[in-house]
Amino acid sequence: MLQIVDLNKKYGDFHSLKNLNLIVNPGEVFCLLGQNGAGKTTTINLCLGFIPPTSGYIKIDGEQVNDKSSSVSSKVAYIPEVVMLYGNLTGLENLDFFSRLAGFKYANSQLESFLSEANLQKEAHAKRVGGYSKGMRQKVGIAIALAKNAKLIFMDEPTSGLDPKATDEFSKIVLRLGEQGKAVLMATHDIFNAVNIGTHIGIMKDGQLIHSLQNSDINPNQLQKLYLETI
């Protein structure tokens, strides 16, 4: 689903990303670990086409990102650290607006079902997002991804700042997405969460992917040790 080949990104003399190679297949949840500045967010920004690469390429479902004729944007969804929605719109209205921008027009009942699927309590659906907690906003973000029926979902530290219960709820949703055959690339600082939900785990440092592991090959303690040694 996602294929990153020899990807480099330079800002002047600063080499932000160095020869990144990575593959995420359908049903896989690839968790990228690393300190701030390791290149996780840059990788996601490049994958979403927000910034152009210096060299190398990214293919999503066989189509190259930044190719004007490609339709990759219709295949991907994005959940940032804080899903910044419009505070003066309700959860339903936000979902409707973002879905319409992606080319989907749903009835209210369908929108409600996406929000419920993302575990947002029913009474919050028609409330303005300005009063939502971070966890509730993240759930609307997931609902947006579900409504778009994206094959590949990028998540940029989505559980950062969430309380343990909200993190647990979020993790379960990500696992379910993987089970549904979605490919997920998630940048995170949370080692234990990565072990819980990731099928694959990568450790980045200074723009390089230092380790790329299968979850089955490593336990949480080994991962923590490896992570601390790497960074």
């Binding site: 920004n45 940032p80 929605l85 419009y86």
Partner: protein, 470 residues
């Protein structure tokens, strides 16, 4: 197209739910209606005053009784400029030009009773009209309502989420530009509809089609004008990183374009082509008649030649022997001579004013505010060209009236005309020009608005590709 509609729909919903904008929009609506109603009341008052004055003068003219035709030509006729129905939308130069002219034999008088001269010094600097609101205040409000539209989305991260949905920055920016253009166009249309209703009540079907064309054209050019303002604001909102720096830039642009440049070009125009004083204008006419102009000999020579040729034609040696009263014919010859001198001098006077205005007209290519200002006055029939038209029609009426009275003096049964005679002279009736006439004199301004719109549309379509997304 659907994406644009969705952006417009939700952008509008967001603005409606923002308390600050709700207050702002309420303020705009109240201000629009206030200027329309105050303007309408003022129009009614001015119209009544002018109609009363014109009617009174007509009565005085008709009731002169039996008088000498030449005396009647000296007594003359007073014409009052009718108030343009659209002048209360944009008063243009009307407050600063005279409204009443005394038409009499031998000389062309200046229009008198300048409305602004009776106003307080504050109003003389420019009254709050609907036109001022549309041209100066609305652009400022567009800036205030839209300058954070993209920068806000970028600062709080919503832009990334929007772009990840597959919507391009170009679509987003164009959608926002259309939203703000349409919001202010909506206020314009509401106000114009109310205005049209008031006008319809006032005039019925008389000249309604011309008013309607002018209103529709007004909506069209203001649509383009607001599109220009919204495009610049939203585009810069996508380019700038700091909202405070952006606001300062936009306010500076607004100030320079709508306040400084028009004043500067007007001052430059006055310096570049100084206008003759009335004294100097009259003196130049006297000089011209003394020396003659082009193929016209000096006046005394002309008069002598006319007298001689008249006597020769009728084979007489004394004017008294002519088969008609010579005074009327000689007076008309003198009138014809002076008309040529006046046309020459007044033509130069008009040329000077047009040269002064041409500086502002050319600056409209750089400044859309100047373009809309001139176009608005033309649409509302309140610019200097419409004032000239009134003067020309007044002068034409004067010439016809004087010629008629001179004819009566020369060929009438008696030197005195009967008291019924004056009833045969039709009243002065100002003929309003068509919108095509008004607009034909503002081609450069139209070109400016059109060019700005096309260039900015091009910038929104292709320029957005070069803006960094995050």
């Amino acid at each position: 197209m659907n994406k644009y509609w969705n952006i417009i729909r939700y952008e509008w919903l967001l603005l409606r739910r923002d308390r600050a904008f709700a207050i702002l929009f309420g303020f705009v609506l109240v201000l629009s209606l206030y200027t329309i109603f105050v303007g309408y009341k003022k129009y009614q008052y001015v119209k009544q005053q002018r109609e009363q004055a014109a009617s009174k003068q007509r009565k005085l003219f008709l009731n002169q009784g039996e008088v000498n035709a030449h005396m009647a030509a000296h007594y003359g006729y007073i014409v009052v400029k009718p108030s343009s129905l659209l002048s209360f939308v944009d008063p243009g130069v009307e407050p600063y030009t005279g409204t009443t002219i005394r038409l009499e034999a031998h000389q062309q008088n200046d229009p008198v009773f300048v409305p602004a001269s009776g106003q307080s010094s504050l109003i003389r600097f420019g009254e709050l009209s609907f036109g001022l609101l549309l041209q100066v205040i609305f652009p400022l409000l567009i800036i205030f309502s839209s300058y954070r539209s993209v920068i806000n989305d970028r600062e709080n991260g919503t832009l990334k989420l929007l772009l990840s949905q597959g919507v391009s920055l170009r679509t987003l920016i164009l959608g926002k530009v259309l939203t703000y253009t349409m919001i202010y166009l909506f206020f314009l249309i509401i106000s114009v509809l109310i205005y049209a209703l008031l006008v319809k009540m006032e005039i019925g079907t008389y000249a309604w089609d011309q008013i309607l064309y002018r209103l529709l054209f007004m909506i069209l050019i203001y649509f383009l004008y607001y599109f220009i303002i919204a495009s610049i604001t939203v585009f810069l909102s996508a380019v700038y990183n700091s909202s405070s720096a952006l606001l300062v830039t936009l306010l500076a642009l607004w100030f320079v374009f709508s306040i400084i440049m028009p004043k500067a070009t007007a001052n430059f125009g006055a310096q570049y082509a100084p206008l003759q004083s009335k004294q100097s204008f009259n003196k130049s006419m006297v000089e011209a008649s003394k020396t003659g102009i082009d193929n016209l000999p000096p006046i005394e020579e002309y008069k002598q030649h006319f007298r001689d040729s008249l006597m020769k034609a009728y084979h007489v040696t004394d004017l008294k022997d002519l088969p008609f009263r010579s005074s009327g014919v000689l007076m008309q010859a003198d009138e014809t001579y002076r008309n040529v001198i006046y046309d020459h001098a007044f033509g130069g006077y008009k040329d000077t004013i047009r040269l002064q205005n041409s500086i502002a007209t050319f600056s409209s290519l750089l400044n859309p505010f100047q373009a809309i200002k001139n176009l608005s006055m033309a649409i509302c029939a309140s610019d200097v060209e419409h004032h000239f038209l009134f003067l020309e029609q007044g002068e034409k009426y004067r010439r016809k009236l004087v010629a008629e009275l001179n004819h009566q003096d020369a060929y009438g049964e008696h030197e005195d005309v009967s008291k019924d005679y004056f009833h045969r002279i039709p009243d002065f009736s100002y003929q309003s020009p068509s919108i095509a006439w008004s607009i034909a004199r503002r081609k450069l301004e139209l070109t400016s608005i059109g060019l700005w719109s096309v260039i900015l549309l091009g910038l929104l379509i292709s320029g957005t590709l070069f803006i960094k997304k995050i």
